[in-house]
Subunit: 175 residues, 2 copies
């Protein structure tokens, strides 16, 4: 009876250790963990405040407005790095198109505006949930509201890692 | 004595008429009135919501983010024209500059971002105050916060008049 009790205690302890390691995963490094992506569009992002603008030439030919929720804006303005949990940055992408009516008013071809929306990308800071990708969850939703596949999403983190000195965030705050 | 009293009443009546016409100016048409410009930066414009982005090539070489106060955003979203009194639209202008760090991450030259701020322009809707310029007050403040001279400001309205069908507002709302 004494042996059986000891054995049971042993199993229970082992089970406890297993549960503990699964919950906190101290032995899993960022390299080993599977990345988790943002699968739902954060609420109310179109009401957020302005961070900056960007344009990509070439195949992307995109016009972006980058917005931030309150936590992200506060961190930007205070110059705090890393961004705290809860910070969310949204990049609203549109086609980069010439504006016929603006050019007509100016009397020369010089004006480009936002065309049809193409996608919205998000970076959601949650240092526990997104440990495998530097504490950031990446999301990309096409104009139909659907997220893109994991193969595409796996390209986000390796590229953003190139800007480690700014906590993986390329966009600077425009005053 | 009677003559003097009548004369005084006559002067007072005339003065009253003069004060009345100066306040409501019913005989002054938009063409005759002197344009009035926006001389103070509207409070809190950097917190406003996003309308759209724009880029001008050439001498301007500018990158703009266009923001709106609550009244402007509501009118835009409801597609209401003309814009109601109280609507304010802000155009935050920056230099349009290539991003060395983004290009390095992408592995090719394709990325442009907001450089130094250059100016902020405003359109303030007040159909009584700005009757002479289509109900809109125009403002332009350089990055030092100072308004530009009237000679420059007089060029705003004639150009914006070219887009009368959208109540003088060039920027369309980006969804």
């Amino acid at each position: 009876m004494k042996k059986v009790t000891l054995l049971l205690v042993g199993v229970a302890t082992l089970a406890g250790v297993v549960v503990f390691t699964a919950a906190t995963a101290p032995h899993v490094t960022a390299q080993e963990a599977a990345p988790i992506f943002v699968t739902e569009i954060p609420d109310g992002y179109r009401e957020w405040r302005f961070i900056s603008v960007a344009h990509e030439e070439g195949n992307l030919n995109s016009f972006a407005s980058i917005l931030g929720n309150d936590i992200a804006i506060k961190a930007y303005r205070e110059g705090k790095l890393p961004f705290p949990d809860g910070a969310i940055i949204a990049a609203l992408h549109y086609k980069f198109v010439p504006s016929t009516e603006n050019n007509k008013a100016f009397g020369r071809d010089q004006s480009f505006v936002a065309g049809a929306p193409t996608n919205v990308q998000f970076m959601v800071k949650d240092s526990k949930k997104y440990t495998a990708t530097g504490g950031w969850g990446f999301g990309h939703f096409n104009s139909d509201g659907k997220p893109v596949d994991d193969a595409f999403m796996k390209t986000c983190f390796p590229c953003h890692q190139k800007i480690k000195e700014r906590d993986l965030v390329f966009t600077r705050y425009a005053p």
